[in-house]
């Protein structure tokens, strides 16, 4: 089981992470936050890609600082992922399987199973260069599973994918999440809603919130309103959406109190924004 304790990471004078602690369970965690909040930094600290001087990353109670063998139990899909275009899909996965320490006699079987999970079995002999962006992303997910890891880390896995691919991704996560810890860093609220059991929200390097998706949504209860622009009073509002119809502008906004209009049922996105904006 993964646990992080008081992780602090600075780059020069800038503090990217500040005293972040959490104990992960066998669930799917959504890691959310604004750009520059520290999401990728946190993931890289967990993977020891950054040296962590302050704080600890523990795997099954042991520090992973000097023991890279913990990575044998990790599947990682970074934000920027690609494969050698000249290789065939099967060859590329075989290469990664070798690097992940998969026993040679199990390689072919694992590759076939992973390709089946991501619905790319029929492209096993295609060259990577012939695949679409979505297929390469799916291949990225496939490679995370080669070594049957207990911890899966995905950094912005659906960025740039079309809705169909995103749905496909969500289904894959649903299929593979059993008995695993999955950390999914994303901006896309729909992904969180669809697959995540819990949400961790980072803001300026700090852990602002952790809880279920419903908990995050409830953060916005009583703070979401719909009003005509003309009826608005006060300036401490955050406009979530603006609609214009027949010359009339209607605003959906977040505020600690009603500033005009009527309250609405909060969405997950509203909850996210309330926490981010500290409304």
């Amino acid at each position: 089981m993964l646990s992080i304790q008081n992780i602090t990471k600075t780059f020069g004078k800038r503090t990217a992470l500040s005293q972040v602690s959490f104990a992960f369970d066998k669930k799917v965690y959504g890691l959310v936050g604004a750009n520059g909040a520290g999401k990728t930094t946190l993931l890289r600290c967990i993977l020891q890609l950054y040296r962590v001087k302050d704080g600890e990353v523990l795997w099954n109670g042991k520090s992973v600082a000097r023991d890279r063998s913990f990575l044998n139990q990790v599947g990682y899909l970074p934000q920027q992922f690609g494969l050698y275009k000249e290789l065939r899909v099967r060859e590329a996965l075989a290469l990664l399987a070798n690097e992940k320490g998969v026993p040679k006699q199990d390689t072919d079987e694992r590759i076939a199973a992973c390709l089946a999970l991501v619905h790319l079995s029929d492209r096993a002999d295609s060259k990577v260069g012939e695949l679409s962006g979505g297929m390469v992303r799916r291949l990225g997910i496939a490679q995370t599973l080669l070594n049957e890891p207990q911890l899966l880390i995905f950094d912005e896995p659906t960025a740039g994918l079309d809705p169909e691919e995103r749905v496909r991704f969500q289904n894959i996560i649903t299929n593979i999440k059993k008995d695993r810890t999955v950390i999914l860093s994303t901006h896309i609220v729909a992904d969180i809603q669809a697959v995540c059991d819990e949400v961790l929200m980072l803001g300026e390097g700090k852990l602002l919130f952790h809880g279920t998706v419903r908990d995050m949504t409830e953060q916005a209860r009583g703070k979401v309103f719909l009003a005509k622009q003309a009826d608005m009073t006060g300036s401490d509002v955050f406009i979530v959406k603006t609609e214009e119809k027949d010359g009339e502008v209607t605003l959906r906004y977040l505020a600690p109190e009603n500033r005009g209009g009527s309250p609405c049922e909060p969405t997950t996105e509203d909850g996210y924004l309330c926490i981010q904006k500290q409304i």
Binding site: N72, F81, Y84, E86, L87, L95, N98, G101
Partner: protein
Amino acid sequence: MSTGKILFRLYRRSKWMLGITVLLFLLPVGTIIFHIITAGLRDLSLIPTTVSICSYLQIAAMLFLSYEFFGKTDAAGLTECLNGTKGGALRLFRRQIGCMLALNGLLSVIYLCIYLGVCAFLMHLTQPAWLWNLTGSILFFFFLCPMTAVLLSAAASLCLKRLSAYLCFTLFVILNSPIKYSLEKRLSFRLSYPVPLSFLFAFYPQNLNSEPPAQDGFMLPETQILVVGCWLLFALLFLAFAIGLRDIHQRRRSISIAAICAVLLVGVTGYNTLPYSDTNADCQNSADKIYLDYWETPELAVAPTTPIEAFHITSCILNLNAKRYLQGEAVLTVEPDNLTVYGFTLHHDYTVQAVTDKNGHPMPFLRQGDFLTVENTAAADGFVITYSGANNTFYTKRRSLFLPGYFPYYPMAGYQSFFNEKEKQLAPCVQTEQIAFTVHLSSSCEVYSNLSETAPGVYEGMASAASFLGGKLAVRSIDGIELVYPYLSAFVQSPERAENAVKTMISLGLDRDTCERILLTPGHLLRGIQPQSILNLGDHLLTSDLNDVENDYQKSKILPYKVSLYESCYIYRTSPNTFESMASFAEDDSNAAYLLKIAIQEKGESAALAACETFLYNREDTRTIQAFFADFMREG
């Protein structure tokens, strides 16, 4: 499927990389075809040139190919994903380096098979020492040098963008090409400071204007190996540094490796600064430097004005270390032993460290150019002279050495000028008196001498001079005379030429009881040095080739300074018109042809030629040519 196999597939599926690699593999075959067309397979002399060029092309190709191959991981966007594994991206990087080294290994094996096959099966050259030499040469040029390029490229791929890397590689390739020699001259002239480009960028080993001595065998020059070794250490240092920058987990190990490489680099560089004989120096041939020294500083050959009395050396014990350069200790017994001042000749390239008597008491001495003057303050009957230095023509190296007895590489009795100022030519120091030589020679190559080898590395005998020739040599006994010649010489392919030449000399009077050995010397180094093609030093002959043996052997019977008169007589007999031109070239007593013409006019043709014949072949008659003609004209 193994990672290596997958990486090779990755490599070969890049069309342009595959294309260049195929060309590299076709090069060995191309060189053999080139050999057959230009010189025939039995001529080994082209091999060093083709090896140089092919090695250079392989190095250049490896720089760019390796960079592109190593850069594929970053370009594909796979690096971070690999860094999330236990081995990290570095593990795959190491395998990629292994692939490139395997490629180079395969190329070297192909070259090795071709050259060993041709030489062993077609030319029947199967001596183990020779085959090891060829193997070492091929592995050096086709594996070690390209390996250095691969490692440099690996380091560059980790920390340089493509444009910067390509610029560096292009500069590296240019500086290692023959262009470096003219660049070096221009830069040194402009900066008024020697810029050692040709020394530093030693991957293209051959100076276009020179060729290594044949007894080096196949090229494996020590200085070049050391310089390439320095580059290899630098590449490892650079690579360790680049890895440390990239991968925090490798930082400590990288620093340790970089530190070790830095220490070794300093050590090897320091060793490389020791003096050495550079037979590939940038001159028309290495002999130019000898001339340049005398032209620029003629007083080097001018004997001191201190009057000295004649003496001779009865015994000469030489302790010589003849590896990278010559370190010598000469223990000389002289006669008479009661002179106050003794003058010796020792080439100016050797620095005299000390002169003592045989009991170790220091003796005052003065070094002026080629001359050494010693004050015999201790009434000693002998001296111990310690000296060291390096000469590029009469050289000592690990792989070969050439110390002929006419070159003052050990102290010779009296002031003998090694350079003829008038004729602007080197004048071999030929002595006639017999000396009891005992030479302890420490060298790394197989050595032949006119002296008998009484124990390993110990040469003894009575002779007028001690000559040593070392390297990849073979010996043939022809009618009781031993001919010592390099493996890489025409006599390997045409043994009957050697036999005919020696038999011709025997028919012309070569005494097998007196002359036991003929040493074939590096011809190109001696171009223009020896006025005679064959030098007779009593118990042995030195020659650079055996082409015009009849004429050359006759010339060898006469003292070198008389050669101009011999040639005048010869041309008078064979080509009168040419003789007229020679005689009218300079109508004064410096021109032997002019003096002969006057003598013929005054005394008659037969009398003049007969007198010349007697004078020429009498080695005891040491009158100058001018003195001889003056005496002849005075005779009734």
